[in-house]
């Protein structure tokens, strides 16, 4: 019977055994443990099945992909010459690029060119004492920004002075292209001299103002003093002035 928790070293030892990644010496020692430990044997069987479940999911996905490729090949062979299809794709890309250059305002193009999402904090075992924060960070790092935000927002409600939460909720909003929600949060962090996120908050606030076309607000941040982004901010402002 399996019960309780399974610590990570034991989980990874079982994983190495199941995936046959142990050295002969490690394997012998592990099998000696197994021989005298019924609960460990049960854990091995459970983990073996769980890994097999994941593999089965992957296999099903791959087989569906191969089937789709076959169908596509048959369809192309019958209906649509390959060269024409590629030509159509190139034409669509070129048309899209021209449309982007002509139709998108300069400030939005500059924002898109310079905006790189904050990569988030490492989700290591060291921060599992705050699992709610870590779960949200996992979602953030995997691009599920709305999910991350909705997990962080209750935490911020109970700790409104937490600059980490304010900064990452703002980052999620920015990633969702919602500068109206991001700007107030970024402003509070940017105005906290002691915050570890101050410089990054100022840069993203600058970019948010650029995207919104609020060039005076962007200029008022005086990014010339920024240790990392001063040059890029100056170039952006010069291009907007031209």
């Amino acid at each position: 019977m399996i019960h309780g928790t399974l610590d990570r070293p034991t989980f990874e030892a079982i994983e190495a055994y199941v995936l046959e990644r142990m050295t002969p010496e490690e394997r012998t020692a592990f099998e000696q443990r197994l021989a005298g430990d019924a609960s460990l044997r049960a854990e091995v069987e459970l983990e073996r099945e769980n890994i097999e479940a994941v593999e089965l999911g992957g296999l099903s996905r791959m087989l569906m992909g191969i089937a789709q490729e076959e169908r596509d090949e048959e369809r192309m062979a019958v209906n649509w010459p390959r060269v024409l299809k590629y030509a159509a794709m190139v034409a669509a890309i070129v048309t899209g690029a021209i449309w982007w250059m002509v139709r998108t305002p300069l400030n939005e193009r500059l924002y898109a060119e310079h905006f790189t999402p904050d990569p988030g904090l490492p989700v290591t075992m060291g921060i599992t004492d705050d699992p709610a924060f870590a779960d949200a960070m996992v979602a953030y790092k995997l691009g599920d920004l709305a999910e991350a935000r909705t997990k962080w927002e209750p935490l911020l409600a109970s700790a409104p002075t937490n600059d980490t939460l304010r900064y990452y909720i703002a980052s999620a909003w920015l990633g969702e292209k919602n500068t109206a929600k991001a700007v107030p949060l970024l402003s509070t962090v940017a105005n906290e001299p002691g915050s570890a996120f101050r410089d990054r908050a100022r840069w993203y606030l600058f970019l948010a103002h650029v995207r919104d076309g609020d060039i005076n607000a962007a200029r008022a941040l005086e990014m010339d003093s920024d240790p990392v982004h001063a040059d890029r901010a100056r170039i952006i402002l010069e291009q907007l002035r031209d």
Partner: protein
């Protein structure tokens, strides 16, 4: 667990067996290219579509894969995987044809209907059903990472680089996802113990 049934296939050219065990995409494509046409022809001749043929062929490959994982493929005859895949796919299709929704279908190649020999023992089929239920419990985030690690056999550093996160984060997420599965399985086995 029921009695283990060994399936005798030619493994003199064992590359496809190793490929199956390693989830090698080239081996899967090789099986598809080599053995799907016969299944497609049979299903098309018996009132099915190409899509039907793909469905039963995929089921057959999954059963073959499961047998390889369980160490049930043994050496001995000149039969390769093609015969096994064709028999399983054919029997799967005959099951569909016999079902109420397909009573009107006419089976023109039914020489083995009465000898519906099971190349897919019940315990294998049950295991596949159970494992599918387990996989369903994973959310997309977990599937993304676990698929790459356990199915595609990528290392943590490669997954981390591809997703733009740190290796240690991927390691932690993998552990958390597997613990979610474990908690789900533990809850299920607890309910079964109470019920019995």
């Amino acid at each position: 667990m029921g009695q283990r049934i060994s399936i005798t296939l030619s493994t003199s050219d064992s590359s496809w067996v190793d490929g199956l065990r390693r989830n090698d995409p080239a081996a899967m494509r090789g099986l598809y290219k080599a053995h799907f046409p016969a299944v497609r022809q049979y299903v098309l001749q018996n009132s099915g579509t190409v899509s039907d043929a793909q469905d039963v062929f995929q089921e057959a490959v999954i059963i073959l894969w499961m047998n390889a994982k369980q160490g049930r493929l043994s050496t001995g005859t000149e039969n390769g995987p093609g015969g096994f895949l064709f028999r399983v796919a054919k029997n799967k299709w005959l099951d569909v044809v016999r079902s109420a929704a397909h009573k009107h279908m006419k089976v023109v190649h039914n020489d083995q209907v009465l000898e519906h020999r099971s190349d897919a023992p019940d315990d294998i089929e049950e295991r596949i059903t159970r494992l599918r239920g387990v996989y369903e419990k994973l959310d997309d985030k977990c599937r993304t990472i676990l698929d790459q690690y356990y199915y595609e056999r990528k290392d943590l550093a490669t997954i981390a680089a591809g997703m733009g996160v740190e290796e240690d984060s991927i390691r932690t997420i993998k552990y958390r996802c597997m613990m979610k599965l474990r908690a789900f399985r533990t809850a299920i086995s607890g309910e079964e113990s109470e019920a019995s």
